[in-house]
Symmetry: C2
């Protein structure tokens, strides 16, 4: 029998919380029969929501708190006042070993700050990173960092490559993922110093993945590699640029269909294919960004996630916990290229 996995849920985080979180947990319960759920939040609100699902009730416990981190709270405010919030308690459950992984659809900056402070960085890792799955022409790829660190040196990028590859093995099921550094050209002489230095280190190291060198912005959507590694500033801009471009084209396509009788007829006939395309690009179907490099697993859901989106994020959390992602990263750091000296201090 499979080991039971305990999943801590910030039941109050996200635009559609708490209903979408409880509904998402119910969907995830069907998919993952070995999962247990700890829901953190206002018991008076959560109890009737959970009571709608008798089977969920048997595998879920509610841990009460009045306190909630809001979308407007700054990371500093979350650190000062958020440790007893639904978000903070979900992370605490992971740090105390009462949960294998935490999931929150709340404020990203607050979640990052609380997770870093409460879980601390893994030994051998200088900076944690935020990684996510993105849709590509070939399926899905992993991209990191998405904003945990706006300025990165070459050591950070090398560690991101190691952590991103471990993440890809688990979520994409690729035994030996291809990994590349995002750059402004594919030649070795091009780009920022930190990117060039990281490329040299990765080229010269024995690695548990295949380092293919540099890729450019258009390789992200092309799915040229399984893992795209970059600093948090560039990764955040690239991810949002891709989302914005997809939204622009969707809007213009809608207009193209809506503005004439031919277009309306065309939409009627093509709707099945277009629906599949929309599903592929829907963030809810690629939901679940992960903080890599902490002493504990924390998964960030999109704030606007539906119940299905929350269930996807719980699925990512489940798989990472079941596969012992942290153990894999620790293993890869020992065997891999990131053998730069590990500082004693913890990154903040």
């Amino acid at each position: 029998m499979k080991r039971k996995l305990s999943i801590a849920l910030d039941a109050m985080g996200g635009d559609h919380a708490p209903a979408a979180v409880v509904d998402g947990a119910e969907i995830a319960r069907e998919r993952y029969p070995n999962a247990l759920f700890r829901l953190f939040g206002d018991e008076a609100v959560l109890k009737p929501l959970v009571a709608r699902y008798p089977k969920l009730q048997t595998v879920a416990v509610i841990e009460h708190t009045d306190s909630v981190v809001t979308a407007d709270d700054k990371p500093g405010q979350a650190l000062r006042r958020g440790r007893g919030s639904s978000m903070g308690l979900a992370i605490e459950a992971v740090s105390e070993g009462r949960a294998d992984v935490a999931v929150s659809a709340g404020n990203t900056g607050a979640l990052m700050a609380l997770a870093k402070f409460m879980l601390k960085t893994m030994p051998g890792i200088d900076r944690p990173a935020l990684a996510t799955l993105i849709p590509t022409t070939r399926g899905e790829s992993v991209m990191l960092d998405l904003g945990a660190n706006v300025e990165c040196d070459d050591r950070n990028l090398v560690e991101f490559a190691v952590m991103g590859a471990a993440f890809a093995r688990t979520v994409l099921g690729v035994p030996r993922p291809t990994v590349a550094l995002l750059n402004v050209g594919v030649e070795e002489l091009k780009g920022k110093d930190a990117v060039k230095a990281a490329g040299q280190t990765l080229k010269d190291s024995p690695l548990p993945f295949e380092f293919t060198g540099f890729v450019e912005g258009d390789d992200i959507a092309a799915g040229t590699v399984d893992v795209v590694v970059t600093d948090g500033f560039t990764g955040n801009v690239a991810l949002k640029t891709a989302e914005g471009t997809a939204r622009m084209i969707a809007g213009l396509t809608r207009n193209a269909f809506a503005n004439s009788l031919g277009g309306k007829l065309g939409y009627f006939f093509a709707q099945r294919g277009m629906r599949a395309l929309r599903a592929h690009l829907d963030p809810n179907n690629h939901n679940g960004a992960v903080f890599l490099g902490l002493n504990g697993l924390v998964v960030k859901s999109h704030g606007g996630a539906s119940a299905l989106g929350i269930a996807s994020a719980i699925g990512v959390a489940h798989d990472l916990a079941a596969d012992d992602l942290m153990g894999r990263i620790a293993e890869d750091l020992k065997s891999g290229g990131a053998d730069t000296p590990s500082p004693d201090e913890v990154a903040t």
Copy 2:
């Protein structure tokens, strides 16, 4: 009568040169009756191409050279050997005042290196930048830098804002463009130090444009502002990410239409609207990136540009020369926010 404008063309640069360049010049000749063309390249090849257009012959001169910068030439090689090439001679014509602007669809790195070396940076500008028009939901916006400088400080970003606004006034026809810095969040505390410092300077300065603060990646395609300012690394990645995403969606949409009878019928009915959408996203219709901040105007066309794409780039070149973009930038630097001390040395 309008002043005659002399446009220097690197007739040998680009994937479809020299035919696309000559054909593009003929299209531009019809659009801009006051333009004169200097075509640099192999006279034996160019002469019969130009001879097909009797009217173009009357406003075009061919200046012969055997030498060509290839797509594989490194910037250093171009600097050593490229000054007598079709690209180098087109830039020389600008530096000697025999042409008002140069246009090339050749190797970007080589063009940037030769243009910087032969024209030098404008007084008061630390680093030149590469700017282009991008399609948005609202129409078109300007984005810079796209790769001239992979590492930028706050002074560079402030100068890019001034130059980008002057460019937008000319090519978008907006008297007082809105300008923002690309960042990972819109709050003043977020982002890289250089971006935050540039934001502070722009906020505190009298400006000939409207500085609106920070925008994020998804604001690029949304067309939130007329001018998006960023460093060359981020701008290059963002532009290529947007292009790659558009290509992915176009491919997936094609599949959605092609994979069923309904889809095929849908395509048949919707094709007029889809054609308009494709035209809006086609790089040939937004062609003509510009090196801003040099003592002379140089326009970079996409390497893969068709004759129509070359004609668009020539159109941008024509408008910038007719509007005296360099004079505008010099004026704005005096009146505007970029009053940081100007170093004597020229950036390389």
